[in-house]
């Protein structure tokens, strides 16, 4: 069994006529330490997949195994601990705690575990994220990009086994985006983290070892780095959509 396995994952929103199948029997295996990019058009189910893996969105059907453990098998407490220790999730939208300042937000998962904050790592992160002179600011005193960087800091702080990033660079300019990506990659290599990254940006996707393409809630393409050109991929996707 691979480090991360997703089996027949389904997510259905709504009922009756309004029913939307966001994930449709998605299965995939990700070895430990792999950097995977997930691409697909808007509304194809990328975020839903990430959320299901992160344990924040209960899937309708299917299983998610991490390190051989079914993450939804335990009770709520265990799921909470899983989220706290095993995954770092960076949302597409800002989700910082408005009453906590930058440092507190970043160290939140550590504090929640009642562990001591690794000051070295914190400083390192603040340095890399360019938040050194913003440590005592509240989220609403920060720009959108800065808020996103705090969220990334929070995900990285614990050096979790799995990093899930949902368009982390979406609201950033290219220079900032590049830096963030470097940070994620560095962390990925240094801590042997498994990184799943949703993106629109082809250049970013191309840096990944593997690219998953999702359309209409299904994995339509799974390619190892360098083997598929972007144009090719677009074609494939077009054909599939026509066929549905």
């Amino acid at each position: 069994m691979e480090f991360l396995e997703v089996r027949n994952l389904c997510k259905i929103y709504g009922k009756g006529a309004n029913q939307v199948t966001a994930l449709d029997h998605v299965s995939l295996k990700v070895p430990k330490g792999e950097f995977t990019a997930i691409i697909g058009s808007s509304g194809s189910g990328k975020s839903t997949l990430l959320h299901a893996i992160a344990g924040v969105d209960i899937p309708t059907r299917g299983k998610v195994y991490l390190d051989g453990q079914d993450i939804y098998a335990g009770n709520r407490e265990q799921l909470a601990v899983f989220r706290r220790r095993q995954v770092g999730l960076i949302y597409q939208f800002n989700n910082l705690i408005p009453t906590l300042n930058v440092v507190e937000n970043i160290t939140l998962p550590v504090l929640m575990d009642r562990r001591k904050v690794n000051q070295e790592r914190l400083e390192d992160l603040l340095e890399h994220l360019g938040l050194k002179d913003r440590r005592r600011h509240l989220p609403n005193q920060l720009s959108g990009g800065q808020q996103q960087r705090v969220a990334i800091g929070r995900a990285l702080m614990n050096a979790p086994a799995v990093m899930l990033a949902d368009e982390p660079t979406g609201s950033l300019d290219s220079k900032n985006g590049y830096e963030i990506l470097q940070l994620l990659k560095e962390s990925n290599q240094k801590y042997k983290q498994t990184l799943l990254l949703v993106t629109h940006d082809e250049n970013i996707a191309l840096q990944a070892e593997r690219i998953l393409t999702i359309a209409d809630g299904r994995v339509v393409r799974d390619s190892r780095a360098g083997r598929t050109a972007s144009a090719n991929m677009q074609n494939t996707q077009g054909r599939r959509e026509a066929g549905v």
Binding site: V56, R76, R84, P98, N140
Partner: protein, 848 residues
């Protein structure tokens, strides 16, 4: 319906919980307002009807009208009705003592059938008079003047006119020194019955109204006319304009309850109590309604921002908001009015019994709904709703659109102001820190929670403190009061008659305990009075005797044996020494002014003397510090020697002449319903053949009145505290649940980064503790201060010392439990949904 009305309605439907809670708030506050007002009007109506039952429905009395004036009054447009009886004249009431100095006459009224129909007469014994030679006498002749006239007695009265300086005086003119009674004729009447003091007799009237029938001829041509008006408010004015020659008076007792009075104390009472109650209720309900809108202020502003960004003008916004308020009001207010009236309807049967005791009029306490009051309640609620709804709209209109949408105003809180101390970290961990930060951030929002909780708490505690202090004060007062509730004192009644009466009377309604005693006053001689009695006695009485020999009056009580020997045992004295022919007696030397007892513990021998100075009997008395039962002596000197002897010893004292030649006997009754008992005893006594004179006293009257009043206060108090607590609960519920709703996203974020359910509960509970503590801090402090003030005031009014302040612990404990209970339950309920929710759903949901 335009698009704004539609959005408003949609908004109401979508935020169902919030809308419901807001409507509940409106219902509650309208209900409270209506309830209090309806209870008040029902009470007033009751008092009015009781007064009418007692004294008839009239507003102005002309006490000296001739037939022409009477007819004029009858034909007057403003007059709704008249009742008139003939003024036959006054006669002196013989045997009236000091107690009736300002009411020395009998006043004869000739009542026609019409008059009897209009003016209430309550017969307590005998029958109504049927002709001009028969008469009813009012019972206050016996009670107040102490003159005993029985059914069947014949009265020979010298009847005449009261005059002063030639001026004719009537029942409206109270007794004046210098007035004369000009006798016109002698009339002979047979007493056919006794009736209750007529309510239509003015309180200050100088004559007891004797009710007879008008004769065929020999009419005086003078009438007392009772006028009922269409507009009672005009009573004084009407009388002033119409009175002609006649003296007049208005029916103060009745008009007072209609809110027409010049009596400054009553007015002050009415207005201050009413005012305070009104203000508190208004504030509380305005507060509640305002708050239920205010909690969602920011969300509303945001919504308005969005509407404005697509081009809504501020006028349109305001209109939509007012429409929303109107919808909420229309939904809530009718229910509130109904609920308020319904509550009072349910409550009335429970309290009506107690009112029956205050005024034994037989009038039922019925629900009376005042429509102006309902309208007022509805209007106040509606206005509050509209204002509360309008405030966010105005704020939104004044704020730049983008700021509305981004809601930067919300947490303008500085990081510094949210900083929490290390101690919180140490004590409560991360959850504590988060809870504390939240508490700090939401300070403004939660102010209303803390305020309303504090408010109800302070009210509950000080209310109960007020009650208990009042009761303790009353307890102190009544502890000094006499034994028993009803006292019967007879003079020169044969022992046979007395005992026969006692056997009959002790079975009267309401009596649960009774005793009797015989109270002669003897003269005694002694040379054994210790210095510590002799000296203060002589000083007090101004007695200039010297040497050890002293003559003293002995106020004796022969009491029932059981009572005596129980008392003896209590004092630890040997029974045998107090029985047999040479028995000792108990004595108590009291300074009656200061209630100080002298010379306890010693024994003195003394000799009872006859008035001519012969020695009659030698006895030995043990000096004790009190006596087992109040004596029935009415006039006691400043110093009194009370001698207590068991009834079994009485034969040894027979034949000893008393100081004043009189023999007094008394009965003491304990009754659960003293006023009913008195009535029962009166009618019992009127049927008895007795010699000598007697008097009945209601010792408990003041206390009973107090008891009933305190019950009324209790009812008001509890109703009030109950209503306010409901409002507080609604408020707390409203605030906390809305707040949790609004923090849904934030709470989901916490969970998404791995906060466990236990941690989450811990955080919420800690938040509760912080609110609770804050409330307790303010609440306990304030109620402590207030209850202490109340204590101070009451004690200083009653001039009591050695009466310690007691903090109302019980009430405080209950409120503390209540506060935490409310907060925790609400929190539990409010977080219940959030806890179970799918994280991502909450995170996605932008419009909470």
């Amino acid at each position: 319906m335009n698009v704004f009305h539609k959005t408003a309605l949609l908004g109401l439907c979508r935020n169902r919980t919030r809308t419901l809670v807001t409507i509940t708030g409106v219902v509650l506050s309208a209900a409270m307002f209506t309830g209090i007002v309806t209870f008040g009007t029902s009470l007033l109506q009751y008092l009015i009807h009781a007064e009418i039952a007692k004294g008839g429905e009239w507003h102005v009395l002309f006490s000296d009208a001739d037939p022409a004036f009477l007819q004029e009054l009858q034909e007057e447009e403003e007059t709704a009705g008249t009742a008139a009886f003939e003024n036959i004249g006054y006669a002196l009431l013989e045997g009236a003592g000091e107690m009736s100095a300002e009411k020395p006459y009998l006043f004869l009224g000739g009542f026609s059938d019409e008059a009897l129909k209009e003016l209430p007469v309550h017969l307590t014994a005998g029958r109504m008079p049927e002709n001009e030679r028969e008469v009813l006498i009012p019972d206050h002749i016996a009670i107040k003047a102490g003159v005993r006239i029985s059914v069947g007695d014949t009265l020979e009265l010298a009847v005449g006119e009261r005059r002063i300086e030639g001026q004719l005086l009537t029942q409206c003119d109270s007794y004046q020194t210098g007035e004369t009674l000009e006798i016109k004729e002698t009339r002979i009447y047979t007493v056919t019955g006794i009736y209750e003091r007529p309510g239509f007799e003015l309180h200050e009237a100088p004559g007891y109204t004797l009710l007879t029938r008008p004769g065929e001829e020999e009419q005086s041509g003078r009438y007392s006319v009772y006028v009922k008006l269409y507009a009672p408010r005009q009573a004084k004015d009407y009388a002033g304009r119409r009175h002609g020659e006649s003296a007049w008076a208005v029916n103060e007792n009745l008009l007072r309850f209609m809110g027409i009075t010049d009596d400054p104390i009553f007015q002050a009472f009415l207005y201050s109590i009413g005012g305070i109650l009104g203000v508190i209720i208004m504030t509380a309900s305005v507060f509640l309604i305002y708050n239920s809108f205010h909690i969602s202020l920011n969300e509303r502003i945001q919504q308005f921002g969005i509407l404005m960004s697509v081009g809504a003008t501020s006028a349109q916004l305001k209109e939509s908001v007012l429409f929303e308020g109107f919808c909420i009001g229309s939904a809530g207010i009718p229910f509130g009015l109904l609920a308020g009236v319904g509550c009072v309807k349910m409550l009335l049967p429970a309290v009506s019994d107690h009112f029956g005791n205050i005024l034994s009029s037989g009038v039922p306490l019925k629900l009376s709904v005042s429509f102006p009051a309902l309208l007022l309640a509805a209007a106040v609620s509606m206005v509050t709703i509209l204002i509360s709804a309008w405030i966010p709209a105005r704020k939104a209109a004044l704020t730049p659109v983008l700021e509305c949408i981004r809601q930067t105003g919300e947490i303008r809180a500085e990081e510094k102001s949210l900083r929490t101390s290390k101690a919180v970290w140490k004590l409560f961990g991360l959850e504590g820190v988060l809870a504390m930060k939240n508490f700090k951030r939401n300070k403004k929002r939660y102010r209303s929670v803390i305020l309303s909780l504090t408010f109800s708490m302070v009210l509950a505690i000080t209310g109960s403190a007020f009650q208990t202090t009042l009761k303790r004060v009353a307890g102190e007062i009544t502890a000094q009061a006499a034994d028993g509730d009803v006292l019967f004192v007879a003079e020169d009644m044969s022992e046979e008659t007395f005992v026969r009466l006692y056997k009959q009377m002790e079975g009267a309604e309401g009596i649960y305990k009774s005793t009797w005693q015989i109270n002669p006053i003897y003269t005694a001689m002694t040379d054994e009075l210790p210095e510590n009695i002799l000296e203060p006695y002589r000083e007090k009485m101004g007695d200039s005797s010297e040497g050890p020999v002293q003559q003293i009056p002995l106020y004796v009580q022969f009491i029932e044996d059981d009572l005596f020997f129980d008392f003896l045992r209590e004092k630890g004295l040997p029974r045998e020494e107090y029985t047999g022919p040479d028995a000792k007696v108990l004595m108590c030397a009291v300074d009656a002014e200061t209630h100080t007892v002298y010379g306890t513990g010693s024994f003195i021998n003394f000799t009872l003397m006859s008035s001519s100075g012969e020695e009659e009997k030698e006895i030995c008395a043990a000096l004790v510090d009190n006596y087992p039962l109040d004596t029935t002596f009415m006039d006691v000197p400043d110093w009194i020697f009370v001698m207590t002897v068991p009834m079994q010893q009485k034969p040894y004292f027979d034949g000893i002449p008393t100081l004043d030649g009189k023999l007094q006997q008394g009965m003491i009754f304990w009754s659960s319903t003293p006023s009913k008992t008195i009535t029962a005893l009166q009618s019992l006594l009127t049927e008895q053949e007795t010699e000598g004179s007697y008097m009945l006293y209601n010792l408990s009257k003041a206390f009973e009145l107090f008891r009933n009043l305190s019950f009324v206060i209790d009812v008001f108090m509890y109703m009030f505290v109950f209503m306010l607590s409901l409002i507080a609960v609604a408020n707390v519920f409203n605030t906390i649940s809305t707040n949790i709703q609004l923090r849904r996203r934030e709470l989901a974020m916490l969970r998404s980064v791995g906060m466990s359910e236990r941690g989450f509960c811990r955080m919420m509970n800690l938040e509760c503790v912080f609110y609770g503590m804050r409330t307790l801090l303010y609440g306990l402090l304030l109620s402590g201060i207030l209850s202490f003030l109340i204590y101070k005031v009451l004690v200083s009014i009653e001039k009591m010392d050695d009466f310690a302040y007691v903090f109302p612990w019980r009430a405080a404990a209950f409120s503390v439990l209540g506060v935490f209970g409310i907060v925790f339950l609400t929190m539990f309920y409010a977080t219940g949904k959030v806890r179970k929710e799918n994280i991502i759903d909450a995170l996605r949901d932008e419009n909470v």
